[in-house]
Symmetry: C2
Subunit: 319 residues, 2 copies
């Protein structure tokens, strides 16, 4: 078995050469990394981990897994309106399969390059496959977009389309190969960093949709002490998703499926024109799906009429 030091030198040390305008003062190689935080910026920190068989099926490739592991973490920086800067990796794996390591680190590197994010430290251990990543971003002081500031009357938006990832995971698990686009949405979520940056000083609150719109919008309204009307007829659904499972199930996937990693955000009415001016930056598109109310729950609306929506768990988040 490769020593931890050799393994890091071969597969991970090269990733500390990938960075943007804020390389670490000291990255991989000492007891700890050293960072200088630019004046006027706050540091944004998030961390998440992926467990084999819990967060991803065993048949995902190592390259895709590397990309996905970093992507779902960067999604949390996007949801704060932050720029990505650095990350660390705790990699636990059953053995030192050099082909797997080469592919995994290439996947990580591909996403790190795209988002100019430097690997500054970490460790490797022997054990059941488990990938923990922490990401570090920067935001101008006081401009992070939190989830606890939605105001009554704000419009509610989401980026991109909803429900595809959950359906893609189902395809992957059941060996259905007729919807490669849906599978890609599960396997390779794209963190909405650029969208998040565009929403600085525009959105009043924001989070990313990792556990399904119903669960995540509930988190947002609970944190903000408000309610919401959700326009079911406005939810952005892909034709491929409707083709795969029908409209009713597509709605279920959007509401409860999870793994979309799109942004859900609220915009005060007086900022809606500014939002329109940012449309080019929000290149995956955005859709108004509701509004913030004085209540404390989500009211499901269809053509402006409140309806009873029965959420089922057929697309429940993998974990």
């Amino acid at each position: 078995m490769l020593s931890e030091e050799q393994l890091i030198a071969d597969y991970f040390k090269p990733l500390d050469n990938i960075h943007g305008i804020t390389p670490a003062s000291l990255a991989i190689g000492d007891d700890a990394a050293l960072l200088d935080i630019p004046v006027g910026k706050q540091l944004v920190i998030s961390t998440d981990n992926l467990v084999a068989g819990v967060h991803f099926p065993e048949n995902i490739t190592a390259f895709d897994l590397g990309k996905r592991s970093l992507a779902i973490n960067l999604s949390d920086l996007a949801a704060m309106g932050a720029q990505a800067a650095w990350f660390t990796l705790n990699l636990t794996m059953p053995d030192s399969n050099t082909q797997w390591l080469a592919d995994f680190s290439k996947g990580l590197a591909a996403l790190a390059k795209e988002f100019k994010c430097q690997l500054i430290g970490g460790n490797t251990s022997r054990g059941p496959l488990n990938i923990a990543i922490s990401v570090y971003g920067l935001v101008p002081h006081g401009q992070a977009i939190r989830r606890d500031n939605a105001q009554i009357g704000d419009a509610i938006y989401v980026t991109g389309k909803l429900g595809n990832a959950a359906a893609g995971l189902q395809c992957l698990q059941q060996g259905i190969d007729t919807y490669p686009g849906l599978i890609q949405q599960f396997v390779n979520p794209v963190p909405r960093i650029n969208c998040g940056l565009a929403l600085s000083k525009v959105a009043s609150s924001m989070l990313d949709i990792s556990d399904g719109l119903d669960t995540d919008l509930t988190r947002l309204i609970n944190a903000s002490n408000v309610g919401a009307q959700l326009y079911l007829d406005k939810l952005p659904l892909d034709d491929a998703l409707i083709d795969y499972c029908g409209l009713e199930q597509a709605l279920q996937a959007a509401l409860t499926g999870g793994d979309d990693y799109e942004l859900c955000f609220t915009v005060p009415v007086h900022n809606i024109e500014i939002l329109a001016s940012k449309a080019a930056q929000i290149d995956v598109g955005y859709t108004c799906i509701g509004k913030i109310t004085s209540g404390d729950t989500i009211d499901y609306m269809h053509n402006n009429i409140k309806i009873d929506m029965h959420l089922n768990k057929s697309f429940q988040h993998f974990n």
Copy 2:
């Protein structure tokens, strides 16, 4: 099973109330935490994880495991001469055993209080027990003590005693209960944060001894492009250790055992008096064990004579 949100609210959210003079602007509860780094300070980041059956035996208590998980990470901040400030936790566990969680979080909290370290985020997952922690410290700009700056002629020191933890682990694994002090050294290492702070502007290089003195001193001399003479007759060995396994094996434990989490540091000759003035702060004691040379390996010395030292692996690091 408890939801992740309930579990965090019950067992981990209270730990974000423990902090020193630099609480996070935003800790647990949003997509990410927000930190303001004080002017004139650099941020110091380290991360490590513990896997059940690899880094600790299954019979360690949840309380001790909580302490140990944070301690071994804080040891890396100590080794940079940094003050601890914040930490994050990725906890993967097979089920939500509430007694285990209560004990584990109490252990974490005990160490967090002692070192004024605030829990600012993390996640929990289902899977084989795996505890990844990232720690964040602060150091005055340019004053971090790196491992790559040892100079020829510098004296080499270690804090505390060496070899006890490896022997303690052996006792734990073999059910030997006559040396509780050795077991404690394995189970509850104390991060040498205060020692590290005392060595600011005194030590020329430093690291913590996690994998045994031989391995870690080799890392230090390789990073600094120097060699070392190591005085075997000066290694600080506990009487209990010698009583447990004899002098020859005690030396082996000190050199190859690991898990000591003491500091190994070098001091320029002109700073040795200043070091003496810091003795009260280095309350676990320190011992001169060698000197830096112009070579590129460790020469083992006994009573000033170079000897052949055959390292065996009977006390090799658990992983």
